[in-house]
Structure formats: structure tokens, C-alpha cells
């Protein structure tokens, strides 16, 4: 039985408080009027104060204009109004990216957990309680994401441009999509998906605990069937979720493999967090039967799914770059123009780094190697979501500053607090899982 250590609890609460201050700071600093917004941008440029800055400013202005044109002039308002909207969006987008990122970690873990159950994997049952602990974050994380979506629907922010009736009224493309992209249906879909994911998580957890106390394998078999069924639901719902929650911030753009791409991102982040939490718990002596072969297997998944993510990232990028069709290439034009470093930096973090560090079979067994790679992978996939949301909501006015870091710290604190609290409620090793002996003697 794991007891939530006081130091970790205090650390997570401190993270939440610091993060909350950062989030509030972000909202306070956001401009309220056009004059303030112009002043902010002017003072920012003044800080650089050389020919380079002026040149860059000129280039981005032109770019901004091009983007606005590509968007089909959905804004009747001036550039100044556009700038104000983007700056006002920044704290919201920072909050949304961090909220979704941590939610997607627990959703990725849930998918991994369901796969382990449906595949009747022999190595992983020792880690089921760790995975169940991490998926406990689905409830608070899902509610927070839903509330942010609800606030968007209530016009508290401009994250989703298609929710603005005045914009839709002047945009034939958005009118054409209104049958799918309308606020009511959007919220109903989100509610169904969250109910399905949370429902499976709670039911499977209940069966998993009941299996420990029962004298036959009926709970285990039922869990197997439920998990297989859930995977079908998950595949469909995750795909639609990625269109709704991520792709629709750029409602003029579409990509068919986007669902898979977001799935790969959440899957590898989830597996990384499983490995990191497992290593942490083992270092505290709470998982005596977990050996370095289990860590090796998790690291192998981190390695493989990182490459899978890169494959999808590149397939999406290369197909669009190659054909260069104006209505879909704008997505990458804005990203490469305004987000060059985060856009290509994340490929290095999510691909080169894990490939070179985790290729060696011996390194996959070394805890600090896995933790180090894990931190880079998680940061890289935060950047992935950042790159998906920010260019469409704040445009070239992005920066990783107080609102972004504050939101990450807050959700990191909440995540740590919630998952370790859930892990401390049950014994860390399942007792009557039919594969537990195989898992205890797992050796690679």
C-alpha cells in the first residue's frame, strides 16, 4: 500500500498555487482595449529596437495580411481588432493547451491500459494499478476541458472562431460546416465522449479491484470484453474529439490523418508518464516485483511510438507540402513563418532525441536515461499541442511566458496530486490477476 508522501503533496500544492498565480497574471495582463494592445506590441518591438526587429515586424505584418486573406476575409474588423483578439486569446489558449495536454496523457494511458487488457499481455499486470491511478485524472481533467469548451461556447473567449455568429454569417465555408460545427452538437459530442471514457475507466477499475477479492476469474473476463469494446468506442471518439477540440480551432483547414496524429501524441505521452511514475514508485520501494525488463518494455514502447508519431507528423506535413494546395497549405505556412523554432524543435525533441537515446537495449534499462528521455518527450508533446492550438488562436503574438508556464505548472500540480492520491487508495499489486505470476517473472 502506497502512502502519498507529504513532500510530494506539498510540492504539488505549491505547483498549483504558483501556476494559479501565473494563470491569473496572464488574464490580468491581457489587454482590454485596442489602444492597450497596440501599446503592448509597440513596447515589445521597442525592446529589440534595431533594424532586424523592424524588418521582422514588416515581414510578419505582410504575413499576417496574407493569412487574413487566405482566411477568406472572415473578419470585417481591422487589423487592430484582430490583434486585440489574439492578445486576449493568449491566456485562454495557454490554459486550454495545458488543460488538454494533461488530460490527453491520462486518456493515452487509458488506451494503453485497455490494449494491455484486450491483448491479455503477460508482462504488464504488475503496472495496472499505476495505470489506473494515472487514468483517475480523467475525471477532473475532463471536467476542466469541458468547462473551457463550455466557456468558449458562451463567448467568453475567441478560441473557436466558428462559434462566433457574426463570423459565420460572412463565411460561406463555415456556413457549410455549420451542420457539424455548431455549439450545441459540439457540447453534446464532448459530453458523450467524456462520459464514455470516464465510464469505462471507473467500471474497469471497479472490476479490477473486485477481481482481487473474488474466488473466480469472472471479473477478469468481463474486464477483457469491456476493454475490447471500449477500444472500438475509443478509436471513433478519439478521432472525432481531435476534429472537435483541436482541428476546429482552424475551421477552414482539414486533414484526414489528424485523429491518428493526435492519438500518437497522447499515446506516447501516456506511456512515458507510466514509465516515469513506475520508476518513481519503484525508487521509493513500492513496486518490489517490477524489474528492469518492465522498464525496458515501457522504454521500447516510448521509442516505437515516438517513431510512429514522427511517421504521422511527417506524412501529414509531406503530403501537404508536396501538393501545395493553397487551402490546406496555409496551416503549415503560418507555422513555419511564425513558429519556426517550436515547429521544427518539437520534431527534434519527439524524434531525434528518443531515437538516439533509447535505441540501445542497455540504455532502456537505465532509470535516469528513461526519465531524461521522458522529460524531453513530454516537453516535445506539449509543444506539439502548442503548435496545434496557438497559431490559430494567437498567431504571431505567441510567447512562452507567464500564462503558458503558469498553466503548465498548475495542471502539473493538479495531475500529480490527483494521480498519487488515487494510487494511494489501493494496494499497488493486483492479487488475483491470472497473469500476475507471469508478470512477476517477466524477463526480457
Amino acid at each position: 500500500m502506497y502512502t502519498f508522501s507529504n513532500r510530494l503533496k506539498i510540492a504539488s500544492i505549491v505547483l498549483m498555487i504558483v501556476g494559479l498565480l501565473g494563470i491569473i497574471g496572464g488574464f490580468v495582463m491581457a489587454p482590454g482595449t485596442i489602444a492597450e494592445a497596440k501599446e503592448m506590441v509597440a513596447s515589445h518591438d521597442g525592446g529589440h529596437g534595431d533594424a532586424h526587429a523592424a524588418e521582422a515586424e514588416h515581414a510578419t505584418k505582410e504575413n499576417n495580411h496574407a493569412v487574413a486573406e487566405a482566411h477568406g476575409e472572415e473578419h470585417d474588423s481591422s487589423h487592430d481588432q484582430h490583434l486585440l483578439d489574439q492578445l486576449k486569446n493568449r491566456p485562454w489558449a495557454a490554459l486550454y493547451v495545458a488543460a488538454f495536454f494533461f488530460f490527453m496523457i491520462s486518456l493515452g494511458v487509458l488506451a494503453f491500459y485497455a490494449i494491455q487488457r484486450a491483448a491479455q499481455a503477460g508482462w504488464s499486470p504488475l503496472l495496472f494499478r499505476v495505470m489506473e491511478g494515472i487514468t483517475a485524472y480523467l475525471v477532473p481533467g475532463g471536467i476542466i476541458v469541458f468547462v473551457i469548451l463550455l466557456l468558449s461556447v458562451l463567448h467568453m473567449n475567441h478560441l473557436f472562431i466558428w462559434m462566433d455568429e457574426t463570423v459565420v454569417a460572412h463565411d460561406a465555408l463555415l456556413q457549410g460546416k455549420a451542420g457539424y460545427l455548431n455549439p450545441t452538437f459540439f457540447l453534446i459530442r464532448a459530453a458523450i465522449f467524456l462520459a464514455g471514457w470516464i465510464g469505462y475507466r471507473e467500471y474497469s477499475r471497479k472490476l479490477s479491484i473486485a477481481q482481487d477479492a473474488s474466488d473466480d476469474d469472472s471479473n477478469f473476463k468481463l474486464n477483457f470484453r469491456v476493454s475490447a469494446g471500449f477500444l472500438v468506442f475509443y478509436l471513433i471518439s478519439e478521432s472525432i474529439m481531435s476534429w472537435d477540440w483541436i482541428m476546429s480551432v482552424e475551421p477552414h483547414w482539414f486533414s484526414t490523418l489528424f485523429g491518428w496524429y493526435i492519438f500518437a501524441s497522447m499515446f506516447v505521452s501516456g506511456i512515458t508518464v507510466i514509465a516515469m511514475v513506475t520508476i518513481y514508485l519503484k525508487s521509493k520501494g513500492h513496486l518490489p516485483d517490477v524489474n528492469n525488463s518492465h522498464i525496458h518494455d515501457l522504454a521500447k514502447f516510448m521509442f516505437g511510438i515516438s517513431i510512429f508519431w514522427t511517421y504521422l507528423w511527417f506524412s501529414q506535413f509531406m503530403l501537404i507540402w508536396y501538393s501545395n494546395i493553397p487551402e490546406e497549405v496555409t496551416y503549415y505556412v503560418t507555422r513555419i513563418a511564425d513558429y519556426r523554432l517550436p515547429f521544427f524543435g518539437m520534431v527534434a525533441m519527439n524524434f531525434l532525441f528518443p531515437v538516439l537515446l533509447l535505441m540501445n537495449s542497455d540504455y532502456k534499462r537505465i532509470n535516469w536515461f528513461v526519465i531524461l528521455t521522458g522529460i524531453v518527450i513530454l516537453a516535445g508533446h506539449y509543444m506539439d499541442i502548442f503548435n496545434a492550438i496557438m497559431p490559430s488562436t494567437v498567431g504571431e503574438n505567441w510567447f512562452i511566458g507567464i500564462p503558458e508556464i503558469g498553466a503548465v505548472l498548475f495542471f502539473a500540480g493538479l495531475f500529480i496530486f490527483w494521480i498519487f492520491r488515487a494510487i494511494s487508495t489501493q494496494p499497488l499489486q493486483p492479487k488475483r490477476n491470472p497473469f500476475i505470476e507471469e508478470s512477476r517473472h517477466f524477463h526480457y
Binding site: 511527417f314 506535413f317 509531406m318 507540402w321 508536396y322 501545395n324 535505441m359 537495449s361
Partner: protein, 176 residues
């Protein structure tokens, strides 16, 4: 120089594993073990050094990506930078996404094929090679442990019988 070897036959891989461990514990040098199929953990029990084949594969892959990059940089960018369907052929980096599939495939191609050839060379395998099989049964259902004799035939026999050998032969050393 000793020119005689003792061949101990086993009919079970678990018995063979225990025998290998006992023979090693008794400080006899095992020349070779012949098996009809891979016995998990036998290399560790015999104390064989781990293979470095994976390292060679990594290096061959590096060669492959270098070949692909140099080749396409020369052909598509330096030698004749044509405008083909508007693709930017001003520098390698600008046109790189189009080259990635080839870079990937050549990396895999070099890594896989050169590693296989390395494997054949190191384990001396080729089409008309004469088989080095001391007994045909080792390809079907028997395991054979070969130990060199240094005036200790009786001692070895006793030990091997004790480890569960089903048959023991002494023969001239096969100089392969």
C-alpha cells in the same frame, strides 16, 4: 596437441542446460554445442560474449543515409537543378521532404542487407559450404556437446554420464 574430442548427446534442452552449467563449473572448456533449435539462455550458460551485430547495423544505417543524401544532393541540386513541377531545387534542405522516403529506405536497406552479409561472413555461411554437422540427429531431436580431451577421457565420461547424457562417443577432431 589433443586431436580427440568427446561427443555427449542429450535429448532434452533442460537437461542440456544443466549439463552445460555443470561442465562449466567443473572447469572444462566446451568446444561447441549443436542444437536443432535455439535454446533460450544457452549462450549465457556457455558464457558466450554478446553479439555486436546490432552495432554494425547502426553503422551501416549511417552509411545508408549518407549515401542517399550525397546521391540526391548531387543529382537533384548540384548537377542539374531543374524545376520539376515547382519543387524548390535551390538547396537540399528546401527540397528535403521529397527526399525523405528515399533516405529512409536506403538507411533500412543498407542496415538490413549489410548486417545480413556480416552475419554470413562471421558465421561462415555460403551456398556451397560443406555442412559441419558431427551427427545428423542434432538437426532433428538431439543435442550434442563437444569437449576436447586432454588425457582425461574417463573423468569426462563420468561427469557427462552423471549430467544425463544419453550417448557418449569419442572421435577424431573434425578440423573444420
Amino acid at each position: 596437441m589433443a586431436s580427440k574430442v568427446i561427443h555427449a548427446f542429450y535429448d532434452d534442452d533442460d537437461v542440456l542446460m544443466l549439463a552445460v552449467k555443470r561442465v562449466r563449473a567443473a572447469k572444462f572448456h566446451i568446444e561447441e554445442v549443436f542444437c536443432p533449435f535455439p535454446v533460450h539462455g544457452l549462450d549465457k550458460a556457455m558464457g558466450l560474449a554478446p553479439t555486436r551485430l546490432a552495432i554494425t547495423a547502426f553503422l551501416y544505417g549511417c552509411v545508408g543515409i549518407t549515401v542517399a543524401t550525397l546521391m540526391m544532393n548531387y543529382i537533384m541540386i548540384e548537377d542539374w537543378p531543374q524545376d520539376i513541377g515547382g519543387k524548390p531545387s535551390f538547396s537540399y534542405l528546401e527540397n528535403m521532404p521529397a527526399f525523405v522516403p528515399i533516405m529512409f529506405e536506403l538507411t533500412v536497406f543498407f542496415a538490413a542487407h549489410l548486417m545480413v552479409i556480416t552475419f554470413y561472413l562471421r558465421s561462415r555461411l555460403w551456398p556451397f559450404k560443406e555442412a559441419e554437422n558431427p551427427d545428423v540427429r542434432t538437426t532433428d531431436d538431439h543435442f550434442l556437446m563437444e569437449i576436447e580431451i586432454h588425457d582425461n577421457e574417463q573423468e569426462l565420461r563420468d561427469l557427462l554420464i552423471d549430467t544425463g547424457a544419453v550417448e557418449i562417443n569419442v572421435s577424431e577432431k573434425n578440423s573444420h
